[in-house]
């Protein structure tokens, strides 16, 4: 198992190199550079800036320089935030996003799977229809609408929770709900579909026939099998949630890294774009490995790392 995990991690390295290469190329194709300003700069000043950031070198040379720095763990200086480097910027913002993302992920797991299971085992009842209507709403309402409604309704109107900012544990709730709404709804739909498929299978009927209590049947035999399909979605979802969201951070004024996915591109802050892209790619690789390991636990038929010894 450990050998398998390590092997998969090693395989991730070429993936990251490909991502870095593509991002590097795409950024340079984008018209408009980092130092294009409303107040145009005199040519001698542009030359000084380009020299400082090695932008006066040929593209292949810049690319090799970037890869060499990357290999040493140096993500380079930010062009926008003068005097700070990308590692510092991500290092300060990532813990915030992880906190928010972890809460949102927990909400998604508990409510998404819970709603799906409830609806699935009570297929066709009024409860099923209500839950699935909720899920449909969750999938359809965009986060900027939900976020605004929560800020105005719960934050300003009712005054129950802080409308925005990032001062303590309570401040995580509204943004986490906004962030979790869509994946929760989607997971609920997925879970319900799998539960409905599994619930009439032979092994479930056998378990019932053995006289196991209904709760044990539902959790151990129905849910565990139904989760296989859902867990596949958890990998990329975890990466998405942990890297924050531009919309949610913007609405709730949260200092996470989600904002950089948008602002770094609009600023043409090449090193910062590369930094967030690589971070995201790394998380996707990592989360997918975690999901594969989870498969093995959920379904004993899946064996990792070749033939059994």
């Amino acid at each position: 198992m450990i050998r398998y995990a390590l092997w998969r991690l090693l395989q991730g390295i070429p993936v990251l190199v490909v991502v870095a290469t593509l991002t590097f190329a795409l950024l340079r194709f984008l018209p408009g550079g980092p130092f294009e300003r409303e107040k145009a700069l005199p040519p001698e000043i542009l030359r000084n800036i380009e020299a400082r950031y090695h932008l006066d070198e040929s593209l292949p040379r810049q690319y090799l320089r970037y890869l060499a720095d990357l290999a040493r763990g140096d993500l380079g200086p930010s062009y926008k935030y003068v005097g700070r480097n990308v590692t510092q910027i991500l290092g300060e913002a990532l813990p915030v996003s992880i906190k928010l993302g972890a809460v949102a992920f927990a909400l998604t797991c508990v409510f998404g799977v819970g709603m799906g299971l409830f609806a699935g085992v009570r297929r066709g009842t009024a409860l099923d229809r209500v839950l699935m209507l909720l899920a449909l709403l969750g999938v359809s309402v965009p986060s900027f609408v939900l976020g605004a409604v929560l800020v105005l309704g719960v934050g300003l109107g009712l005054g129950w929770l802080p409308a925005a900012l990032w001062e303590g544990p309570l401040y995580v709730l509204l943004p986490a709900i906004t962030l979790a709404a869509l994946p929760t709804a989607y997971v609920a739909q997925l879970t319900r579909a799998s539960v409905v498929e599994v619930i009439d299978l032979d092994h479930v009927r056998t378990a019932r026939a053995k006289g196991l209590p209904e709760r044990v049947v539902q959790l151990r035999h129905v849910l565990r099998n139904a989760l296989l399909g859902v867990v596949t979605y958890f990998g990329p979802l975890l990466a998405v949630l942990l890297t924050g969201s531009f919309v949610v951070e913007q609405i709730f004024a949260i200092p996470g890294i989600g904002r950089f996915f948008v602002t770094a591109v609009t600023n043409r802050d090449y090193p910062l774009v590369m930094g967030v892209t690589l971070l995201y790619a790394g998380l996707v690789v990592f989360a997918n490995i975690a999901v594969d390991l989870l498969y093995g636990w959920l379904d004993p038929r899946i064996r990792l790392g070749g033939p059994e010894r």
């Binding site: 018209p31 300003r37 001698e44 950031y53 005097g83 300060e92 605004a148 934050g155 929770l161 004024a253």
Partner: protein
């Protein structure tokens, strides 16, 4: 069971209520403002944006500072003398001024700061603000290698001598700008890039930096030893709330005291005592690419400028915009409201006819703007007016900001929008934009008389003669050659909590908090 459940729910609700955000309200003596975004840097040699400038203005001072009437007043320099030829300034520094770590202010700290700003390795975008200083441009371009060749030196600890390439009457206005502020060689060498972080940053203005949580919050504390007297406020906290409507919610809750109003909200706040409005030193204009037909003919450009009813802009945008056919905005010295073309559709059509243009046969005129709601509204209004008053077809195209800027430098579209905000309150800052050698002139227009008038005005000490020079230059720009059609002057729209006393916005959009109180 059911009852117990409700009980838990009620308790939870109470617990949440107890932590309601009202406990976040600022105590007396603390002012909470919205910065909107993270200041990209607090290094005053490298900062170029308004947010950094706002913070640095509280932390630092220069040789001179802007007074409430936007005239350059003595600040770190107690007084100064200009030589008879207008080329040499002698600044006498105030004695007894100390940095927040107790070190005394010295003239050498200006020399170091200016050399650092101009050094090619610093790669400062705003190094060009000191290009009027002798040798500065050559040093920045790498043609002069010895920093001693730059025209700035310390005659003694409290006397700074500045030699200019040519006379420049507004030089004391330039030294109000942050890139000219003094700097500490010892600290910059000690901390490197991190010298601007809280704990490292040493300053000498009314406030000092206490905390800087990047992308979230910045706290300034009153400087007890400020030479101008301790400010009334104890603390200023600047949050970085990017979403303007969220900032407004926090204002409603009493968490933020000072917030910029998004255009759509102005209507709702206009009648409230918290509302503040001030015309800014910021012009909005349409530029013509004078190298492309039909705009290679001044008569056509004039006709297009005359066919815009500028009185419609404030009605459309509702942000207190001032319709403007002139270029030097009100509030700036040498502003002249009489300059500019008048709205005259019939005259405009006659001009087109004289130029031999048949509007119906003209291919659609392409207007390009950067993607933003306000710019789209303006473009649609101009489109409708040109179609109605001139009978030409107009096509609108929008671009992402950086793509737009690239296009302006590489191949400017026939008609494009841009704005300009003052860096310092002197008309030269606006007028030299359209000299033939300005990097900001994307129109392709070059008029030697205009260049000459602007250069002359920059070194003309006599107010009346300077006024005449700028009037003549503005007439060429806005009435005769019309490479640009100024449209309006933007305004600043703010809401300020009633507990805050003594705050007024000013046209430079600089926040002076020294005399502000928070109850």
């Amino acid at each position: 069971m059911l009852k117990a459940r409700y009980g838990v729910g009620a308790l939870l609700a109470l617990a949440l209520w107890g932590c309601s955000p009202s406990s976040l309200r600022a105590p007396p003596g603390e002012l909470r403002i919205n910065l909107g975004t993270e200041p990209p840097t607090l290094d005053w040699a490298l900062a170029t944006d308004n947010v950094s400038f706002l913070v640095i203005e509280q932390l630092m001072q220069g040789l001179t500072r802007l007074g409430p009437d936007l005239r350059a007043e003595p600040a770190l320099a107690e007084h100064w003398e200009v030589s008879a030829d207008g080329r040499t300034y002698l600044f006498h520094l105030r004695k007894g001024v100390r940095w927040s770590d107790g070190a005394p202010l010295q003239a050498q700290q200006f020399v170091y700061a200016w050399r650092r700003l101009l050094a090619p390795a610093t790669a400062a975008e705003y190094a060009y603000f000191l290009f009027p200083v002798a040798g500065a441009r050559a040093y920045n371009a790498g043609q002069l290698h010895d920093a001693n060749g730059i025209g700035v030196r310390a005659l003694d600890a409290h006397t700074l001598e500045v030699r200019l390439e040519a006379p420049l009457v507004y030089f004391p206005a330039l030294t109000t700008f942050m890139v000219t502020f003094p700097a500490r060689a010892d600290l910059i060498e000690k901390y490197g890039d991190a010298w601007t972080e809280a704990g490292n940053l040493v300053s000498l203005g009314p406030f000092r930096l206490e905390e800087w949580r990047h992308e979230y919050r910045l706290v300034l504390r009153a400087n007890e030893d400020f030479y101008g007297g301790r400010p009334s406020l104890d603390r200023i906290t600047g949050y970085m709330v990017g979403e303007e409507s969220t900032a407004l919610v926090l204002f409603e809750q009493g968490i933020l005291d000072l917030v910029r109003l998004p255009p759509l909200e102005i209507r709702r706040y206009r009648e409230r005592p918290s509302y503040r409005r001030k015309p800014a030193l910021r012009g909005y204009y349409y530029g013509f690419n004078t190298g492309l037909a039909p705009f290679d003919d001044a008569r056509v450009r004039r006709a297009f400028a005359m066919a815009i009813d500028r009185a419609e802009f404030p009605k459309l945008l509702q942000g207190g915009e001032l319709p403007a056919a002139y270029w030097i905005p009100p509030g700036m010295p040498h502003h002249n409201p009489a300059i500019g073309v008048r709205f005259d559709p019939a005259g405009a059509r006659r001009l087109l006819k004289q130029a031999g243009i048949d509007p119906a046969a003209l291919p659609p005129v392409r207007v390009v703007y950067n993607t933003e709601q306000v710019h789209r509204l303006v473009a649609e209004l101009v489109q409708a007016q040109w179609q109605e008053h001139l009978g030409v077809r107009v096509e609108l195209e929008n671009r992402e900001w950086k793509v737009f800027l690239k296009e302006l430098t590489v191949s400017p579209p026939p008609v494009y929008r841009l704005g300009w905000g003052a860096d310092f309150p002197d008309p030269d800052n606006f007028m030299n934009l359209f000299t033939s050698y300005s990097a900001n002139n994307h129109t392709g227009w070059a008029n030697p008389s205009y260049d000459r008038l602007v250069e002359q005005a920059a070194r003309e000490p006599d107010r009346a003669r300077r006024q005449a020079l700028y009037d003549e230059a503005q007439r060429i720009l806005c009435e005769q050659d019309v490479p640009i059609a100024p449209l309006f002057v933007s305004a600043i729209n703010l809401v300020v909590a009633e507990r805050v006393k003594g705050f007024e916005p000013n046209p430079m959009d600089i926040f002076f908090f020294e005399r502000v109180r928070a109850e």
